[in-house]
Each structure stands twice: as C-alpha cells, then as structure tokens.
C-alpha cells in the first residue's frame, strides 16, 4: 500500500545520530497534556533520555506538562533551544517556521524536526537556507530507539550492522 506521506526522504543514520547526540534542549510544538497522545509519549521518553523538553501549546500556556512549564509560543521560551520538534499538520508548518526564523540566532536553534507524517518541503527549504538542519517525517523517539538499540528489542529492523558493542544508553 502507498503510505500517507511519500517517504522518499533519505537521511543517513550518521546525520540523524549526530543531531540526537548534539541536542540537549528540545521545544515540542503541539505538546499535549493528555498522556495517551503520541506527543506525550515522545516527550516523556526524551525526558527519560536526559533531554530538557519544553512544551509549547497556547491552550495550555502557564500549566505544567510532565513537570515542565508550557509556553504559548516559541518566542516566549527564555532558554536556548537546540531543536524544535513540530507535532502539527504539514500545512501548519509554514507559519511555525515564520515564527522561528527571526529568533534562530537569539535562541541558538540548530535543528527543525517534523514528526512522522509531517512534511513541508517549502518550509524545510526556508529553514535550510538559514543554515538549519531539517528532518521531516520522522519521530525522534523512534529514531533514538532505532539508532541506540532499544527499538530492536521490539523486533524493529534498525538497519544497523556493526561488530562494535552497543553503547549503553
């Protein structure tokens, strides 16, 4: 069957792994307070791996999600942000990038990540034009699990072939 989104996007394992290793702080746009939502699963997992995760959701601004203060928009976040993870529809990514571009230098943003099923080529090109690294149609939880061995525990094909010991996570 044809998938919902054409997954013609090719990222090497090395490209993704460097992003995940080089990131400490992640803003999640579209974070949910409902713990059974995928965004909540992703946020909790990434927190467990030592990332500082900053939820962004105007409907929940001022409240706490999984112990972190929720912001109305990305500009409000006082800290530096390494990566912005976008949990929104593909069409909504354009306006999100509009918000991000003016604050890229101030917040030291380096990576724009769009979740599984989210793809916006023109927004991605605008982000890349100012030197941002972009990942589309991927989940950071799944990619972390895949590249650092945990997803293999559930029989997922990581594609990783290596005669070196796995680093313990």
């Amino acid at each position: 069957m044809t998938p919902k989104v054409p997954s013609s996007l090719i990222y090497t394992d090395d490209y993704i792994e460097k992003i995940l290793r080089g990131t400490r702080t992640i803003a999640i746009i579209g974070a949910s307070a409902n713990w059974v939502r995928p965004s909540s699963f992703v946020m909790k997992y990434l927190q467990g791996k030592g990332y500082q995760v900053l939820p962004v959701n105007p409907a929940r601004a001022g409240e706490e999600i999984l112990g972190s203060k929720c912001y109305a928009n990305i500009a409000e976040i006082p800290d530096q942000i390494d990566m912005v993870d976008i949990f929104r529809s593909s069409e909504s990514v354009g306006p999100v990038i509009d918000e991000i571009l003016p604050i890229v230098v101030e917040k030291n943003i380096r990576v724009i990540w769009m979740q599984l099923g989210v793809r916006n080529d023109s927004a991605a090109m605008r982000a890349e034009a100012v030197g941002l690294q972009v990942v589309m149609d991927r989940c950071p939880k799944i990619e972390y699990g895949r590249l650092f061995g945990e997803l293999s525990w559930s029989g997922v094909n990581s594609g990783v072939i290596s005669s070196k010991r796995r680093r313990i996570g």
Binding site: W153, G155, R166
Partner: protein, 434 residues
C-alpha cells in the same frame, strides 16, 4: 531536502552479510560476540515509574519473556531485515504466527481469502478452528488471479497465499495478487516459508505482511519449532480505518492507545505482540531462537545447495521410467516455470511433488523403501525427506480439497536436503525398484 541528503546515501550491506549480522551486535556489557541465550523469565525495573512506562508502552524495554526476550529479539530483527521489512515478531510455531496475524486483523464475522494451494495444516486451521472464532476463510484457485476479484466482498479483510506452495510445484503470481489487494484496501499476507527471503522477497512485489514457519529452512536443521510475522510498514491502516478497527480504534487495555497512530509503520507487530502474545501466550523460547539464529547464518549457503540438488533430483525423476509426472517449477515444462523465473530467480525451492505410474500402492511402497530419505512430516531440513501427503499432512482435508491442493492420493512429496546429489538419485532409484 531530498537533494541535500540524497548525496549521502546509506551504504547497503548484501543479503549474505545481513544473514549473519543483522540484529546481533556484540553484547554491550560482556562483549560476547555470539548472541547469548537470555534464559530468563523477567527483567528488573529501575523504579516504579520505569515499570509504569514499560507497561504503558511509553518506553522500550523488557518486562517479561512472553512479550519480548533479548535472544528472540535478535532473531526478530534479523528476519525483518532479510525480508526488507520494518519489524518482525516471533512466535512458538508457524501456526501460532498465523493465529496472531489473523487475531490482530479480524473481528468475529470478518472474512479473508486464501489460496487453495497451501500447507494442509493451514487449510485445516483456516477451515475449522478459525470458523469457531467467527472468522471465515474463502479458498480460491489463485493460479488464475481473476478468481480472487470475484470473491472479494465488503467483509473481506485480507488475502493469504504461499508464493511457492506446499506440497510443491505451484507458484502464484504475487505481483498481480498484490495489485488486487491494494485496490481493495486490504493487506496481502504471504507465507514465505518454502521460498525464504533468500529466494523471494514478497515485499518487493507489494505484499504487506510476510509469515514464516521458521521451523523449516530458516532454522534449517530440523531442530526447532518457530514462526514469524514480518510487516512491510507500508500498509495504510488509518486510510482503511473502517475495515481495521483493531488497528485504528483506541485499545481499552492500553488506556485508549491506538496502535496505528502511536507506532506508525510497526503498529501491526506491536499490536500482535502487546495484545496477541500478551493474552494468548504463544511466544518463542530463547533456546529455540538461538538454534534458529545459528541455523540462519548459513541460509544463503544452504539454499543454494537445496535448489541445486532439487533441480538434479527433479530432472532425474522427470526422465525415470516409473515416474508418471513431476511437479517442480524449475522444470521448463512446468506451467509455473515462467513465474518461478520471475519470483524465484535463484531456484524454485526444494520441496516438490511427483506421481508414480504404479499409483497409490507404488507410492506407499516407495516411502517405505528409502534408505537415505527420511519418511516424516516436515520440510526444510538438511536431510532429504519423503512423505505421502494424502495420508499425513493433508489427511484432514476432503478429497476435493486434497486434489485442489495438489495432494491427491497418488502424490509423493520430497524435501530435498544437502546430501551428495548422486546418493539421492541412487536412493530413489533403488526404492522405486523394490
């Protein structure tokens, strides 16, 4: 963008390399190079929060070996990798894998279509035991794929076939059936047991799920029962949500989690594991996974010799005076020769059938007279095997079902092993002379 990353293409290892390495890196703590047998029932939690996350499927990790086990996981990833699939799940047998597959797809009242050319045990499972669960299987002669179209109804939720069918000789036009399944918005499930991913990779032709009895060629030495489900990750469950509520509706046992949404392209195997294995329990043992992993490391070498020997034996029988007919898709006169060239270019497998001019009596005499061929009910062993399907593997079927499956009273089935091919010819010749 495509262009930016396309220049840095991921290196692709060959099938032989992946047969040996996929899924098994050295143990992170001890450096053990071979996959250890993790003979443990359960795994400790870091704290109560970690335990809760694991039970809620919010993080990856081991809880209890009915669900996941590190040795079994290596085999699962290796099979998924060889099939070029997204994920795999192992079960205690091929039949258990079939049960878990249909349990994860169907509700009572649902139907599916299966090829009439199947392993007899599968026909029995689908006809009788599945019926008691409210699942109806409609068998179709898929050697003409047009028959499938007329059998699809709104209740049809899947199409099932063996690309290289047991007891042998029949090859189904996989690509054509995949188009029909795709058009109907239902998954095509291929039992790839007799071909193995070395001879055929059904996902390349549009299959959505691949099943294996790992008991056969994958483990390869007649030591260990096992089964596997592999998912391509390409089936659009959400787009066909009306047909597959099991995949797309909130699961009450997991706090309303939706498998297709939460796990995306490995949602099916997660469902089969977290619900199917959890509640019915047919898990593979770590020891059987270990035997199967070890056996699989020579899959590519063994399959080459299996098909080479099978071709020699089939040609020998084809020109033997006592033999009436030979059904092997590697023989140019076989009606499936061209399909075999397309789907099984490295060889048409090593399980096939033939009939003796002397009919049933001569067949019984033959299976009792071999000295090297073992008379038993299995296929895919290093040893050559011989069987009379009508009185054994296909015994539970009606006469009509047996004939349709290519397992009539005069049929002898061979599974050609890795012995000296001349010795196999010698043994069959002396047995037919008895």
């Amino acid at each position: 963008m495509d262009e930016t990353n396309a220049s840095k293409i991921q290196y692709q290892y060959g099938l032989e390399t992946r047969t040996i390495h996929a899924g098994s890196r050295p143990d992170p703590v001890t450096g053990a190079r071979n996959t250890p047998i993790y003979q443990t029932t359960a795994y400790t939690f870091d704290d109560a929060n970690h335990a809760a996350d694991l039970f809620n499927l919010q993080t990856f990790g081991f809880i209890y070996s009915r669900l996941t086990n590190p040795t079994v996981a290596v085999l699962e990833e290796r099979i998924a990798n060889l099939e070029d699939g997204r994920a795999a799940l192992c079960a205690s047998s091929g039949h258990a894998a079939q049960f878990l597959t249909f349990f994860s797809l169907l509700n009572p009242g649902d139907e599916f279509i299966a090829s009439q050319n199947l392993y007899g045990g599968s026909i029995t499972q689908f006809t009788h035991s599945f019926k008691r669960l409210g699942w109806t299987c409609n068998f179709v002669d898929m050697t003409n794929v047009e028959n499938i179209k007329s059998s699809i109804s709104v209740k049809t939720k899947a199409i099932f076939l063996e690309v290289l069918a047991n007891p042998g000789g029949v090859v189904i036009d996989l690509e054509a059936v995949a188009k029909i399944a795709n058009g109907a918005g239902i998954p095509l499930i291929v039992d790839n047991t007799l071909a193995t991913p070395f001879l055929c990779q059904p996902f390349k032709w549009g299959a959505d799920l691949v099943l294996h009895s790992t008991t056969k060629f994958l483990s390869g030495h007649g030591t260990s029962l096992g089964g596997a489900i592999v998912e391509s990750g390409m089936f659009d469950w959400v787009g066909n949500a009306d047909k597959f509520p099991t995949m797309t509706e909130p699961d009450p046992a997991y706090h309303g989690l939706t498998f297709a949404e939460t796990f995306g392209d490995f949602g099916f195997t997660m469902k089969a594991r977290a619900v199917g294995l959890r509640d019915f329990g047919p898990c593979m043992s770590p020891a059987n996974a270990f035997y199967t992993i070890t056996g699989m490391e020579t899959l590519h070498l063994r399959m080459l010799r299996h098909v080479e020997n099978a071709q020699v034996v089939a040609e020998f029988l084809n020109s033997h005076n006592s033999v009436d007919w030979v059904s092997y898709a590697g023989l140019p006169k076989s009606p499936y020769y061209d399909l075999a060239k397309k789907y099984l270019p490295k060889g048409a497998g090593s399980v096939f059938t033939f009939g003796l001019k002397g009919g049933y009596e001569a067949g019984v005499k033959l299976v009792e007279s071999t000295n090297l061929f073992s008379h038993l009910a299995n296929v895919g062993d290093t040893r050559s095997l011989i069987l009379h399907p009508a009185s054994t593997t296909h015994r539970q079927l009606t006469d009509a079902q047996r004939d349709a499956a290519g397992a009539g009273p005069k049929v002898i089935r061979l599974s050609i092993g890795l012995e000296t091919s001349d010795d196999l010819l010698y043994d069959l010749d002396q047995a037919m002379a008895q």
